[in-house]
Symmetry: C2
Subunit: 343 residues, 2 copies
């Protein structure tokens, strides 16, 4: 096939094309497109016109290499399909919006090895910062983050030792708090229903805190049930049925997340169980999506939006030459009693 010397539609454009089209040096074009340095209004116009006409899209790869600056922030989270991380993302995006920084998401599916490789992949693009869920990582992952020379913020959880900064809540404390509220309401035969995922450390810590508080009151879990995969609503329903059949004396069901809690609630209502006097229920997360349920599920807000905002703010602050030291921000989840715990 022929190779037209100029304006081959297939060849991707470079600064040189724009510079030739507008009769100035590449450097001047670069200055115009980045709004940096002094350029006269007349040449600025000429350059912009040429760039627009040609449909030039700058090559950030070259730009980043030359300037040693990348406007990306790596965000590494376990999942995107469970209502909790999308909201964290919203907080991050909102805050990053007007900083020139851009989030790039990586998903780990709660696998430490996958997390390590996603982190490696993202670091190889030399982002300006990393926001990563949780405090538990492989040793190699921790080493990479410590070495990277960029701000690192571990989010969601503060029960542990962060590599650099951390923003989150104490899930252990959250579990305790919920247990105390339940006990105070007079419930005594309490069951736990949650995920089986061995790497969901936050759910695990909540359960630990929960059992700790029960123990302090001389109680212990009457029953427990775990699941993995499938429709959360349906699983909640099935697990609830299993528990209530197996342990009819149960008077409270503590779920590790709102979604299965909602399934349980629907099951109880369907069975004509009196909620909350006969049986009480509570979930975790404060998922707004579920506000339309027949009865409002008791839950605990995980400050997801706020966590995203604060984490992004830390990255943004440090990226523009802020301090080095890591900071730990603990947020306080609030109990939302809803209609499923008797007052």
């Amino acid at each position: 096939m022929s190779i037209p010397p100029i304006s081959d539609p297939r060849r991707t454009l470079t600064l040189r094309d724009v510079s030739e089209a507008s009769g100035v040096s590449e450097m001047t074009v670069s200055r115009v497109l980045r709004n940096r340095g002094d350029v006269s209004d007349s040449t600025r116009e000429r350059v912009l016109e040429a760039a627009r006409r040609l449909g030039y899209v700058p090559n950030k790869i070259a730009g980043a290499l030359a300037s040693q600056r990348v406007n990306l922030v790596a965000v590494i989270i376990p999942s995107m399909s469970n209502m909790v991380f999308p909201e964290v993302m919203t907080g991050i995006s909102d805050t990053l919006e007007d900083t020139g920084l851009q989030p790039v998401v990586g998903i780990t599916n709660y696998s430490p090895d996958r997390e390590e490789s996603v982190l490696y992949e993202m670091l190889s693009w030399r982002p300006s910062g990393v926001i990563i869920a949780g405090l538990e990582h492989t040793e190699a992952a921790r080493a990479m983050m410590a070495q990277a020379g960029i701000p690192i913020v571990e989010i969601m959880d503060i029960d542990g030792t962060p590599v650099d900064s951390a923003v989150g809540i104490s899930h252990r404390r959250a579990g305790r708090k919920m247990a105390e509220a339940i006990i105070a309401a007079g419930y005594r035969n309490i069951a736990f229903l949650g995920t089986m995922m061995p790497y969901d450390h936050r759910a695990r810590k909540r359960l630990e805190g929960f059992e700790e508080a029960l123990a302090k009151a001389g109680l212990s879990l009457v029953d427990r049930e775990f699941y993995s995969g499938g429709s959360a609503l349906l699983k909640g329903r099935e697990m609830t049925e299993a528990v209530l059949t197996r342990s009819p004396q149960v008077d409270f069901l503590y779920y590790s997340n709102d979604m299965i809690g909602a399934g349980g609630l629907l099951y109880c209502l369907h069975k004509g169980i009196n909620v909350p006097s006969q049986i009480g229920l509570a979930g975790f997360n404060g998922v707004e999506l579920l506000d339309g349920l027949p009865r409002k599920l008791a839950t605990m807000d995980a400050c997801r939006h706020e966590i995203g905002r604060r984490a992004a703010a830390i990255i943004a602050g440090k990226a523009q030459g802020g301090v080095i030291g890591g900071e730990i921000i603990e947020l306080s989840p609030t109990l939302q009693p809803g209609d499923t715990i008797r007052n």
Copy 2:
């Protein structure tokens, strides 16, 4: 502060560091780390050992610039918090998994301008392909995609003209099909409840197809109600109440998505309305999450997972020097009658 000549913990490592540490040229290190070209086992070992010991993370920016190859696929979608795109993403990830390609997500919030700027931003990183939701884009966005010289796949919808390839369903046909099923079931006083978003073209097309089929049967919508923002479940509840109060004669409620449909279903059941004999309901998307509802909502599967897989397959195929021409793949959504349409 002092500037140690070597092994400054702050300086980021380069190939040169690894090459010096292992006594071979940078080129050989590069070959080892990419598994390309011949390298003896003994040097390979030495290099890998050195890289590991130093904690070297390759710089893909430099690599991409030199090789003119980037293993990223831009995925541009309107939202991540509505159950539909996470599943598309899963399909994309699954298929890209073993191709060496990596998805990078950008969110537009249903704003054409935002879509344009996200696209520009992503193209400036010179991805190997673009997967973008919908067929409606700004003129500039279309121009950019046409110029980019990489495979473009527009997903979800095929009612229109794609820039390059397209994978999706016909939402107009989906709307028609649902209307026909509803009419066949004997319902005659039908109302529509949906989103107000002017840029949700797919919901719009479904409604158009729906009304088209109604018209063909000599019917027209008895009532309609729109919402925006808020908890979908709750909105579905509120809208349903509004419609049933305003138009008591209604015997069928067609929702633009499953989530508000679920809210409506819960409302009807709560009010003691006999579903589906007194009032029928249907949604759209086939959201598995909702399987645990007291009654299974009639819906239409949007082939989300399959769309993701096929789109990714097209990109993967073309990225390794496949053909140039665009292809259009139409998938067929299947009606899931559930328990909310009388047989």
